[in-house]
């Protein structure tokens, strides 16, 4: 792990610790918990898209698989939530493996559409297979998680737990990136032919990272199910898969931190908008929550057109230029003094 990343970790952990006191309201803590779920899924997706260069518009399906496995195995079969979560992750990985082998032979637009089709099929099945998934009515009474005898039954507890999961997920992702495997993935992104000539089994690597990213998504789905205690197919439609990709893209594809930044910012966006709506009303603009989707699409479009490296890269560049400015000002003063 590079020094930069360690600084990043420290900032993240500090923020995670400070936020509950800063917002001090259960509703916003809930929002931050959802942000953690998105973060986790986006970290996995970033490994796939940013590092290996393979797009997936189907990760909502793996979130659904994790959520449904957790929901069904605990309520129907009485499994412990932890076992159910592990089972969900393995199921998601197995399905990712089976789908990934033929799908990842495709590239670019073809891969995007194939994964989108896959997600759509999973969603249709979740709605239609009423005797297994409960259909549109969903699964009720999913138990809460317990950790070391503590029931994670308050929002604050679950908040710390979910963000700990994010930190662990990040730690694993960074290790992976700075390893032989991570280099292999980046090499595939750079040039598949050259990667093959260096002895990298490109097909197998792509499937492996797809499987890993599916595991991230699945765990995120399980954590979601244990938090809301109720799931239905609604949140797992193709739009959710698309949203995950947009989070990673808005934050920046070239770095896992980008996925974190993108996931958090876009998860908070609706709250920010409803917050500003009050002020807009003062100046006579009626803002309706319906407009959120327009703002969302607009942000995505503007960033892709003008800041294709993403917000994280933009923040770094901005930070650097501010720092240079500060340095110049200081140095300028010295010159004057001399």
């Amino acid at each position: 792990m590079a020094a930069r990343d360690i600084i990043g970790f420290c900032i993240l952990i500090a923020l995670v610790l400070v936020m509950p006191h800063a917002v001090g309201n259960d509703y916003y803590i809930g929002v931050l918990i959802f942000a953690a779920f998105n973060c986790l899924a986006c970290i996995g997706l970033s490994l796939l898209m940013g590092y290996a260069g393979q797009i997936s518009l189907g990760h909502g399906a793996f979130i659904a698989i994790g959520a449904y496995a957790s929901g069904l195995l605990t309520t129907e079969l009485g499994w412990s939530p932890w076992t159910a979560m592990a089972a969900g992750a393995f199921a998601a990985m197995g399905i990712a493996f089976i789908v990934g082998i033929p799908a990842l032979r495709l590239k670019g637009h073809y891969l995007a559409m194939a994964t989108l089709g896959f997600a759509s099929i999973i969603h249709i099945v979740a709605v239609a297979a009423t005797d297994i998934t409960g259909g549109p009515a969903g699964v009720l009474n999913i138990p809460r998680l317990s950790l070391f005898g503590y029931r994670l039954d308050s929002d604050t507890r679950y908040y710390y737990f979910a963000w700990t999961a994010v930190v662990i997920g990040l730690y694993l992702a960074f290790n992976l990136i700075h390893s032989r495997v991570g280099r292999g993935l980046r090499a595939i992104h750079g040039s598949e032919d050259a990667a093959g000539a260096a002895g990298i089994n490109t097909a197998a690597y792509k499937v492996q990272v797809f499987v890993v990213s599916a595991a991230y998504a699945s765990v995120s789905g399980s954590l979601y199910a244990y938090y809301v205690n109720y799931i239905d197919p609604g949140p797992f439609d193709v739009m959710h898969s698309v949203l995950l990709v947009t989070m990673v893209a808005v934050g920046g594809l070239h770095h896992v931190w980008g996925a974190v930044v993108g996931a958090v910012l876009l998860s908070l966006l609706p709250e920010v908008l409803s917050f500003t709506a009050g002020y807009l009303q003062v100046i006579g603009i009626q803002y309706r929550p319906d407009y959120d989707i327009l703002v969302y699409g607009g942000i995505l479009l503007v960033i892709m057109l003008f800041l294709p490296e993403g917000l994280f890269a933009g923040m770094i560049a901005g930070g650097k230029s501010v720092w240079n400015l500060v340095k110049r000002v200081i140095r300028g003063k010295q010159v004057v003094r001399e």
Binding site: F174, R180, R183, G190, A194, A198, I200
Partner: protein, 255 residues
């Protein structure tokens, strides 16, 4: 010094793209620990030969035998593991990775850490990672790029990118190295350095197969020269023999 045992044998190699016959029954033998150049006009099928040997394309018919192993139907990464390294006519470095990382990728074939271990243990707890870095560094030294180790590969000038590609190919510890026009786009000083590098590679007991349009370089470094035209071998011999061959002169000056 050129041994008589061949390391690679191409037998009746044929490759058809749609209607285009790129290789038309090519037979060629590459002697162990030699520098064998393959020359021929544009479109003669030289790159196609490399792509067949390294598994990027499947031959329409014919056989390729490397140290008693048949290469047909073997995937590129397996061929790299067998000990055949290559560079590409259009440089293919990994532009967003550093120069050192590019060569570390080459060590992939000779290291083993998988996903689980890599994810669980940070790099400083994995001795293999240290080793990969050291070995990659020494190959960078070998080609003379040690100074640039931490630069992004994409920012290097073309000449250095070609050197880097050679270093990466050497890092897999090949017994046979295929170089596809390593001097194209290089200035004369860089070309001399490349020639020198090719000599030093052979001193490391690595067989080199070279495709190159720069005749001075070819004649200077090669033990054997094979001349192709229209997917066939037109002549084969020492540089001097080939230079005097009337068929070669015809192929180059055109009909």
């Amino acid at each position: 010094m050129s041994g008589n045992n061949s390391i690679l044998q191409l037998d009746g190699l044929r490759k058809v793209f749609g209607g285009v016959v790129a290789l038309d029954g090519l037979c060629l033998s590459v002697g162990e620990n030699t520098i064998t150049s393959v020359i021929g006009p544009n479109g003669a099928g030289k790159t196609t030969v490399f792509n067949l040997i390294t598994g990027y394309l499947a031959p329409s018919s014919g056989a390729m035998i490397y140290k008693n192993t048949r290469l047909q139907g073997t995937k590129p990464h397996k061929i790299a593991l067998l000990g055949i390294g290559r560079t590409f006519q259009n440089v293919r470095t990994f532009p967003d990775m550093t120069v050192l990382e590019n060569v570390m990728v080459g060590r992939h074939a000779r290291s083993r850490a998988g996903v689980t271990v890599s994810a669980l243990l940070p790099a400083f707890l994995r001795p293999e990672e240290k080793r990969i870095q050291a070995e990659a560094g020494s190959w960078l030294d070998f080609v003379g790029l040690a100074d640039a180790a931490d630069m992004p590969a994409g920012s290097l000038p073309l000449g250095k990118q070609r050197m880097l590609e050679v270093a990466r190919a050497l890092a897999i510890e090949p017994d046979l190295l295929l170089l596809d026009e390593p001097a194209s786009g290089l200035n004369s000083r860089e070309t001399i350095a490349m020639g020198d590098l090719i000599h030093r590679i052979r001193e490391n007991r690595i067989t080199v197969m070279l495709v190159e349009h720069d005749m001075e370089l070819v004649m200077e470094v090669s033990d054997r020269v094979a001349v192709m035209n229209f997917g066939r071998l037109v002549a084969e011999g020492t540089p001097r023999e080939v230079q005097e061959d009337p068929e070669v002169i015809a192929a180059y000056l055109g009909e």
